[in-house]
Symmetry: C2
Subunit: 639 residues, 2 copies
């Protein structure tokens, strides 16, 4: 762990995205997703499930007012994960236990969007919501509408399953995001008051609990970064140190003996510094690992850093789809065992890939590693973008690599595999998570320290770093060409990642290669032209992955491609590529000369060479699948 090379990411407020690809996605978020989500939070979308998000904050605000006035308020049970109008009385909390977090994620997305595109009207809307949120805070700083509305006595009574610390985490992230965008402190102060309460409540001499759904760890670090208040860092560190110690806190509060290592789902089966394999709920996992990396960095904790390295290595070498998807089983939305990456049963949640990007950014800050930056690219250009339709109006939680609509309709083992994207719904973690990630994509592209600026992702932009003003003009996704214009503020080194998919590349300046990055000494205003050979590739998956034997995935640059039924007919499994298939790139699409196997006549027959007919196979980028109605899809193709 060489702390002299540690870098920091570049804040959105110092990046202007000019990239046509990403700018259009950001505009979609700004014009479609954020306004739609605003309506959804207010339960004004016709035909959509109610979210109760704003309604809960208003109810909680009224309770807080009554409590301040010494009025009596009712108590309702807090025994469910999901409260509907059928199972909870009118005055009680409604929605999911983590419903508050959707509001916070929306505010955070708005913050990033305001940086990219100032919008007074949107800012006013956000300020109004922030007022509603802040009014719901109890005088002691506590802020979670479920417990404020239903039962003030029950706060922090079930850290494992109720999501108070999770909601706090999103509150803090939103507060920091909005503060960075607007310099308005209101939400930040509210978050700090809640953080203060949490710091006063949890600790080695206090309650020895820790979050069931992680995020508070990295969120507290964000508060520390903004406020420089060391207690936030300390509490984050406490949560990570305490996690998984035996006897388990979760057992102690239940008065139960600790028998087995039975908290894998929550990554609480052992202490994080001893966790080397990614297990359990995938989103929780990568959120924890992000917090671990934060603590490793700020506390220079070598043990934690090594655990993070091993976890990252485990994910990207054994548990990640070619699309950057992680968490391959629907049961517990979880990581499965090594090399268990089924295409048609995949969970591969959009949020999990987003969390992987969070984790990766922190790892890249400690050690620029092209393999990790490659994983970010995989996730970003494939699973993350697949999470949203091209019109920004519908979303996937689950991102399979093979879809047969009949299976999704008839086979309950595949009921999580949706064949078309869904509109906003009550349990809506992924859409607002997508909004905030896309709106802040630059934060995952660049890092710098006092001497070096790293370009991990080639996203067209103008960046104000401490070493230089940098302009990136990127045709990376089309031709593989990137022009980098550097206006140094002092002598420094520029490090450009060499994508793993690229065998041939060239730079217009002298460079040295280390760990997958090309390093350039910069001492005056110059331009560097980079050319990455972005030819179509056939990628094979390890033969430890049983479903992908004798198959290939087609990629071009960062994009993984797929076949859809609408272009290639039914029964995509009948299609084969030649070993020396010729590919033709045509805009976004790729055409390949392939074969279609003649349909078998009987279920079982003596083996003989199959009959094939020549066909042209059309491939589209994976993230664009299911934008033309329900149909079969497959990433992997037989060879």
């Amino acid at each position: 762990m060489d702390i002299s090379t540690f870098s920091r990411h570049i804040n959105s407020s110092r990046i202007e995205i000019t990239d046509s690809f990403w700018k259009s996605k950001m505009e979609l978020v700004r014009k479609e997703v954020i306004p739609y989500q605003y309506e959804a939070l207010h339960d004004r979308v016709i035909g959509a499930e109610k979210s109760y998000s704003i309604e809960n904050f208003i109810k909680a605000g009224e309770i807080v007012k009554k409590l301040k006035n010494g009025e009596e308020v009712p108590v309702f049970p807090t025994d469910k994960w999901y409260y509907t109008e059928e199972n909870a009385p009118q005055g009680a909390f409604h929605g999911w236990v983590f419903q508050d977090s959707d509001v916070y994620k929306w505010i955070e997305a708005v913050g990033f969007s305001l940086i990219n595109h100032p919008d007074k009207d949107l800012e006013n809307k956000a300020d109004d919501i922030i007022n509603i949120v802040c009014n719901a805070q109890l005088p002691n700083g506590y802020l979670d509408t479920l417990f404020i509305i239903n039962d003030r006595e029950a706060v922090f009574s079930n850290l494992k399953d109720w999501h108070e610390l999770y909601c706090f985490g999103h509150l803090a992230e939103a507060a920091v995001g909005y503060y960075n965008a607007t310099r308005k402190r209101k939400l930040l102060d509210t978050a700090c008051r809640f953080a203060d309460l949490i710091c006063d409540t949890f600790g080695s001499e206090k309650i020895k609990g820790y979050p069931g759904h992680e995020i508070a760890e990295m969120a507290l670090v964000k508060l520390y970064e903004v406020t420089e208040n060391a207690k936030y860092l300390e509490t984050a560190r406490f949560f990570i140190d305490e996690r998984g110690k035996k006897p388990y806190y979760y057992d102690i509060v239940l008065g139960r003996e600790t028998v087995n290592d039975n908290y894998h789902y929550n990554q609480a089966h052992c202490q994080p510094k001893l966790q080397f394999e990614a297990v359990g709920h995938a989103v929780r996992g990568v959120y924890l690992y992000s917090g671990m990396a934060d603590i490793a960095k700020y506390c220079k904790d070598e043990e934690l850093y090594i655990a993070c390295r091993k976890l990252m290595e485990n994910i990207i070498t054994k548990k990640m789809y070619i699309t950057g998807g992680i968490g391959s089983t629907v049961d517990g939305e979880a990581f499965s065992y090594d090399y268990d990456l089924p295409n048609d049963l995949a969970y591969s949640e959009t949020c999990a890939s987003i969390g992987l990007i969070f984790f990766a950014r922190r790892m890249l800050e400690m050690n620029p590693d092209a393999e990790i930056a490659d994983a970010v690219e995989r996730a970003l250009y494939n699973t993350v973008l697949s999470g949203m339709s091209l019109d920004g109006k519908s979303f996937f939680y689950v991102n399979p690599l093979e879809v047969l609509p009949e299976a999704s309709h008839k086979d309950s083992r595949k009921r999580h595999i949706k064949t078309v994207r869904q509109k906003w719904f009550g349990c809506a973690c992924c859409p607002p998570n997508l909004s905030r990630l896309i709106s802040s994509v630059g934060e995952y592209a660049f890092t710098e320290n006092d001497d070096i600026v790293y370009v991990h992702q080639y996203i067209g932009s103008r960046i104000n770093t401490e070493n230089a003003d940098i302009e990136i003009i990127s045709d990376y996704l089309n031709s593989g060409g990137v022009k980098i214009i550097l206006n140094p503020k002092k002598s420094f080194t520029l490090a450009l990642r060499i994508p793993s998919w690229c065998n041939k590349f060239s730079f217009s300046r002298k460079y040295e290669i280390r760990d997958g990055y090309a390093y350039f000494d910069i001492d005056k205003r110059i331009e560097i032209n980079a050319e990455f050979d972005i030819c179509v590739k056939m990628i094979k998956c390890s033969n430890k992955v049983r479903g992908n034997l004798d198959k290939v995935a087609v990629t071009r640059g960062p994009f993984v491609y797929c076949m859809e039924e609408i272009d290639n007919g039914k029964d995509l499994q009948m299609i084969k590529l030649h070993k020396n298939t010729k590919f033709t790139v045509c805009g976004d699409n790729i055409f390949a000369d392939g074969l279609r196997e003649k349909e078998s006549e009987t279920l079982y027959s003596e083996w003989q060479d199959a009959e094939f007919e020549d066909i042209a196979v059309k491939l589209i980028p994976y993230h664009k699948w299911a934008n033309r109605g329900e149909n079969e899809m497959s990433v992997y193709i037989r060879i």
Copy 2:
């Protein structure tokens, strides 16, 4: 439907099995399984879950005695599927709602075993159990220990989920089996009294209900065959006619409106005569279809016969594993959609293949069809036998075609895939079902009508048919050679099935081929020598089955073969066979020259031809897998 050719199966009492293969299985059942199950029914197996089977009958007998004496007896709830000592008081019923059926299946197996091997001690034991069973019958004929012990008022109140008519079915089958073996009427009379009550209770002018778990239909037909009492046939027909009519009986009793066709699980979504696709719980399905075939035959119901044909065709052309396994999804232990036959997620319950054999026998009686007899052979020599360990001491419910122990331990989607056979347990439908099938295997091998004797399975035996005394000396499983010695009682026709796996065959007498059978005119004592070319074959599965593309299964005669880790090392998916692989048969085993792919170094890499090393692949018959400890197994091999 040509009723002139209808035949009937040959009763066990007229068949002496001499076949060394089957005789050893029968001896295993007699010496190991039946005695072990006897102990299990009495809860005397140390370490095994209690079954409460005999205990319930004794309790019910005491209740019946008290009721006869006018004494008051307690009432307990009948609201569960499984009653344990934790959730049910001491005096109440314990075990599964269908617990009684295990006792009946044991009695039936004993009956068949006594035919094959008279055993006074065993017969005495069975008679004792029969006395206990008969003592538990209420004066009105009702006999189901759950309701007799817990709540006499609740009988027949939930036909869909509580298994009274299912238990009745097994009682009737046991009674017929035991009567055929011993000519003792006690259990038969008891079964008839219960059947009389059922006939008095259900009908078009009475209660219009029908069984939730089918079997009563075919069981009533068995009672009709023995007693010639037409009302049993009528009630069986009523159950089948009434099933699936709208509004659904199951909704009516709940006071609920019928909205959708929502009883697929129970095959009650529409009337059986309109069912053309096998759906729902697989065992229930084939038990219903068996009853449908019985009614089609005895009532000459063309419509029902056509439905049966279509159902059988659907199963054997689209829903059957190469091993004769059916019901490919664990969810509901059910049939999945067409061509959904995953190897590693298979359910393929032993009982379902047994039920398929029941259904097939009835279809063969109506129309000798070599394809159906082939399916019987597949099921019998593969999935059914796989259900029992070679020492007869442990059992599989679930018969997957690919097993990775790590997956079974770590992946909850595969938790039903056991890697080694289990000892007897409470919910023990498969082991006693196996006992009764193996002990009566001859009944599924031969049928005859007034002019023709059909040999569907070449099982060495001496058969007393109405047309001839026939001796079959079979080396079918080893060399493919069969000698048939015929002592005709009159001129008749012998029909020998030509197995579908056999391209080359010869007979020592003149024959004519129709529908997969070779027909011989027999008018004097002769021998026929049949030679079936039993070479090793590589079989491919339809390319509609996505998991088996570019793979083959190796078969020899009726046996499907598989690879095990103990012989071939870990990572069986790395193994490939050449297109022109040479096979060497060595006793039960087959050796093949094959290839092992070098393990990939990275998860994703640019495609290039894989590297292979030459290896010898060892294959064993599928039914023998998992007899040498836990290890990987695979039926399908890459080619």
